[in-house]
C-alpha cells in the first residue's frame, strides 16, 4: 500500500501501475482519454472502480468528471466530434470494443442526471419505460416491476395513489427519485449519478443521500459531485480529477483526512475550485 501511494505522486509511474486491491473492479480503465475535437477532456486515466461500493468523483468544474462518467455508458456517443483513446472495461469486457453494443451496456449501466428529467408522461409510464424496452412483460408483471423500483427509490408510498398523474406534477426531489426508480427498473448493475442533487433543496438532497446509502451494497454507484461534504457523507471511495487528469483515488476517509497529493489537499481545503 505504501509503495503504491508513493507511486501515485509520480505522474509517470501512475500511468503504468495504478492498482488498488479494494475488491473486484467493476469498471477498469487503462490509458483512457476522451477528446472533443482536438481538446483532450480526459487524459490517460487509469482507474479500477470497485464493485458494489459507492465511488465519488470530485473536482472543480470543467475537470472532466462528468465526461468520464458519461464515457462509462457511452453517452458521449451522442456528441459530434467526440472520440476516445485507450481502453475501458466493464466486467472485463471492452466498453468501446468493436462488437460492444451500447444498448446492452446501457441496460446494465443506469444513469441519473443533474437535473431531474422525467419524461412528460405518467409516473407509471416513466418507470415502465425501461422494462418495456427490454422485455415483453405483461401488465401485471410490469406493475410489480414498477412497484419494486419505486419502493427501492423510496417513492412508492408518496405516489402509489397517483401513478397515472403526469410525472412533471411531482416536486423536484420526487422527480429525481422517480428518475432513480426509472433507472433501477431495468435492473442495472451500475448506477451513474451526475451531480444528482445539484438542482435540489437541502431536504430533498438529504433524501437522495439516504437513498444512496440504502442502495449501497446492491449496486455499484458512481456519483459525480460538486459538493465535497456530500462525497464524504455518501461514498466509500473518492477520486479527484483535475484538468482531465485523475490526481488521486483513495478510500474516502483517507482522501479527506490524509491526502497524498498537494493538489488534492489544496482542493479539499478550499484553496481553489
Amino acid at each position: 500500500m505504501n509503495q503504491k501511494k508513493i507511486q501515485l505522486s509520480d505522474n509517470q509511474l501512475k500511468k503504468t501501475s495504478n492498482f488498488m486491491d479494494w475488491g473486484k473492479p467493476h469498471i477498469y480503465s487503462k490509458d483512457f482519454s476522451v477528446f472533443y475535437g482536438s481538446n483532450e477532456a480526459i487524459k490517460q486515466v487509469h482507474i479500477k472502480i470497485p464493485e458494489k461500493k459507492v465511488t465519488a468523483i470530485i473536482g472543480p468544474s470543467g475537470c472532466g468528471k462528468s465526461t468520464f462518467l458519461r464515457a462509462i455508458n457511452r453517452m458521449n456517443d451522442l456528441i459530434m466530434g467526440c472520440y476516445i483513446k485507450g481502453k475501458i472495461f466493464f466486467d472485463d469486457e471492452e466498453i468501446y470494443g468493436q462488437y460492444a453494443d451500447p444498448v446492452l451496456l446501457r441496460k446494465r449501466v443506469g444513469m441519473v442526471f443533474q437535473k431531474p428529467n422525467p419524461f412528460p408522461k405518467s409516473i407509471f409510464d416513466n418507470v415502465a419505460y425501461g422494462p418495456k424496452l427490454h422485455t415483453s412483460k405483461r401488465k401485471s408483471e410490469l406493475y410489480e416491476t414498477v412497484k419494486r423500483s419505486l419502493n427501492r427509490a423510496a417513492l412508492w408510498d408518496e405516489v402509489k395513489e397517483r401513478l397515472n398523474n403526469n410525472a412533471l406534477s411531482l416536486s423536484g426531489g420526487q422527480q429525481q427519485r422517480l428518475c432513480i426508480a426509472r433507472a433501477l427498473a431495468v435492473d442495472p448493475e451500475i448506477l451513474l449519478m451526475d451531480e444528482p442533487t445539484s438542482a435540489l433543496d437541502p431536504r430533498a438532497t438529504g433524501l437522495i443521500e439516504d437513498l444512496i446509502g440504502e442502495l449501497r451494497g446492491n449496486y455499484t454507484i458512481i456519483i459525480v459531485t460538486h459538493n465535497m461534504q456530500q462525497a464524504a457523507r455518501v461514498s466509500d471511495y473518492t477520486a479527484f480529477f483535475y484538468e482531465g487528469v485523475l490526481i488521486e483515488f483513495a478510500p474516502t476517509s483517507e482522501l479527506f483526512t490524509t491526502p497524498k497529493e498537494k493538489k488534492t489537499e489544496e482542493y479539499i481545503t478550499g484553496r481553489f475550485g
Binding site: F90, D91, E93, I95, G97, Q98, Y99, A100, D101, L104, L105, R108
Partner: protein, 379 residues
C-alpha cells in the same frame, strides 16, 4: 432465461452486422423521405422545362420576350408575352411600393415601440391576414372593391391624398422650418420658426389641393385594374414582410440599443441609425419574400386585373386593366388543355418556367442575404 446467466455487452459478429445493417437502412429510408422535397423541386424544374422547351423550339425566344401581340387562339397565332410580363412586373412593383413602407414601419413598431401585451394581439392579426385564402381576397377585390373603385375611385384617392399627405407633410414642414431657422438664419426665435412653418404649410396645402383636384377628376372606366390588384396584393404581402422584418429587428440585440440610448439618442434615432441598419439584410429578405409572393399570386390577379393583355397607355396608367403571367396560365390552360401538344399549351409552361426562374433567383438572393446577416451577427 438461461441465456441471460452469462451477461455480456458483447454481441456476436452477425448480430453486430445485422444491427449496423438495420441502422444503415433506417438512415437510408429516412434520408429518402427527407429528400422528397428536393426530388420534388428537381421534378418540377424538369417537367416544367420539358413542356416549355417545345414552345421555344417552335417559336424561338424573340417573339415571346419582345412582342406584345398575344393572340394564342387566332388562326395565325401570336405569342408575344411582353405585355403579360409587363403586367406581372407593374402589379408586383406597385404592390411592393404600397406595402413596403407600411410593412417596415409596422415591423419597427412591433419590435421597438409596442408593449409586449399589445404585440400579443397584433401578431395574431398579422397571422390571420396571412392565412386568408387568396381566393377570398380575389372575391373581395372583384365583388366589393372593384365596384367602389369604379364608382368613386377618384374621390377615394383624393381623400387618401389629404389623409396621408397632410400630417406627413406637416411633420416634414416642422422639421424643415426648424433646421432652416437654425442653420441658415442662425437664429432660433420662435417667431421666425413659426413664420417659416406657416409659409411651408401654405405651399403644402396648395400643392396637395392641386394633387387632390387631379385625382378627384379621374374617372375610372373599369374597377378591375392595376390599382385594385396592387392594393389587394399589398395587403396580402404585408404579413410576409412584417414578420420577416420583425424577426430581423428582434435579432438586433438589446446591447446595441442600450448603447445608443446611453449616448443620448432618442428612440427614433436609435431605431433609424442603429437598429434598422443592422437589420437591413433581414428586412430586404422580407421584402424579397413578399415580392415573390406577389409575383406568384394567381387568384387575385386573375379575378381582379381585368385580364387584358396590353401595355396601358401611358405605361404608368394604373387605372387600366392588365394581364399577368399567373392569370394567363390559370385562364388559358382550360382551353389549351384539349389540344395538348400545341404551342398554345407549351407557351403556358414557358410562362411557368419564367415564374420558376424568377422565384429561384429571388430565393437565392434572399438566402444570400440571410447568410450575410448571419455572418455579420457572428452566428
Amino acid at each position: 432465461m438461461k441465456t441471460q446467466i452469462k451477461k455480456s455487452i458483447i454481441v456476436s459478429k452477425e448480430t453486430s452486422r445485422l444491427r449496423r445493417l438495420v441502422s444503415f437502412s433506417t438512415h437510408g429510408f429516412l434520408f429518402i423521405i427527407a429528400s422528397v422535397s428536393t426530388i420534388a423541386v428537381a421534378f418540377i424544374i424538369f417537367f416544367i422545362a420539358k413542356e416549355a422547351l417545345p414552345f421555344f423550339n417552335l417559336r424561338g425566344f424573340k417573339e415571346f420576350f419582345t412582342s406584345i401581340q398575344w393572340y394564342p387562339s387566332a388562326s395565325q397565332p401570336e405569342f408575344g408575352a411582353l405585355s403579360i410580363i409587363y403586367g406581372s412586373i407593374i402589379v408586383t412593383l406597385l404592390a411592393a411600393l404600397i406595402a413596403v413602407p407600411f410593412a417596415v414601419l409596422s415591423a419597427i413598431c412591433l419590435s421597438d415601440i409596442l408593449s409586449f401585451s399589445v404585440r400579443q394581439i397584433v401578431k395574431p392579426v398579422i397571422e390571420v391576414i396571412a392565412a386568408i385564402p387568396s381566393v377570398a381576397f380575389g372575391f373581395f377585390a372583384l365583388v366589393v372593391f372593384a365596384p367602389i373603385l369604379q364608382r368613386s375611385g377618384g374621390h377615394l384617392l383624393g381623400v387618401g391624398v389629404w389623409l396621408l399627405g397632410l400630417p406627413l407633410n406637416s411633420i416634414i414642414a416642422y422639421l424643415v422650418s426648424d433646421i432652416l431657422a437654425d442653420k441658415i438664419f442662425k437664429k432660433t426665435t420662435v417667431a421666425l420658426r413659426t413664420l417659416i412653418f406657416i409659409l411651408l404649410e401654405c405651399i403644402i396645402i396648395f400643392s396637395l389641393y392641386k394633387v387632390y383636384t387631379i385625382f378627384d377628376s379621374i374617372t375610372i372606366n373599369s374597377g378591375t385594374n392595376i390599382l385594385n390588384v396592387s392594393v389587394i396584393l399589398a395587403i396580402m404581402i404585408l404579413p410576409t414582410i412584417v414578420s420577416v422584418s420583425e424577426d430581423a429587428l428582434q435579432a438586433v440585440g438589446k446591447e446595441l440599443r442600450q448603447g445608443s440610448y446611453a449616448l443620448g439618442a432618442t428612440r427614433t434615432e436609435t431605431i433609424l441609425k442603429v437598429v434598422v441598419p443592422s437589420a437591413k439584410s433581414g428586412i430586404i429578405t422580407g421584402i424579397i419574400l413578399g415580392i415573390m409572393r406577389a409575383v406568384g399570386e394567381t387568384m387575385v390577379v386573375w379575378m381582379a386585373s381585368g385580364n387584358a393583355a396590353q401595355i396601358p397607355q401611358p405605361w404608368y396608367n394604373i387605372f387600366e386593366p392588365i394581364r399577368t403571367l399567373t392569370a394567363t396560365i390559370a385562364g388559358d390552360m382550360g382551353e389549351a388543355d384539349h389540344v395538348t401538344g400545341s404551342a398554345r399549351y407549351h407557351v403556358l409552361f414557358a410562362m411557368a418556367l419564367l415564374l420558376l426562374v424568377i422565384s429561384f433567383i429571388s430565393n437565392l438572393i434572399s438566402e444570400w442575404f440571410v447568410a450575410r446577416s448571419k455572418k455579420k451577427m457572428g452566428i
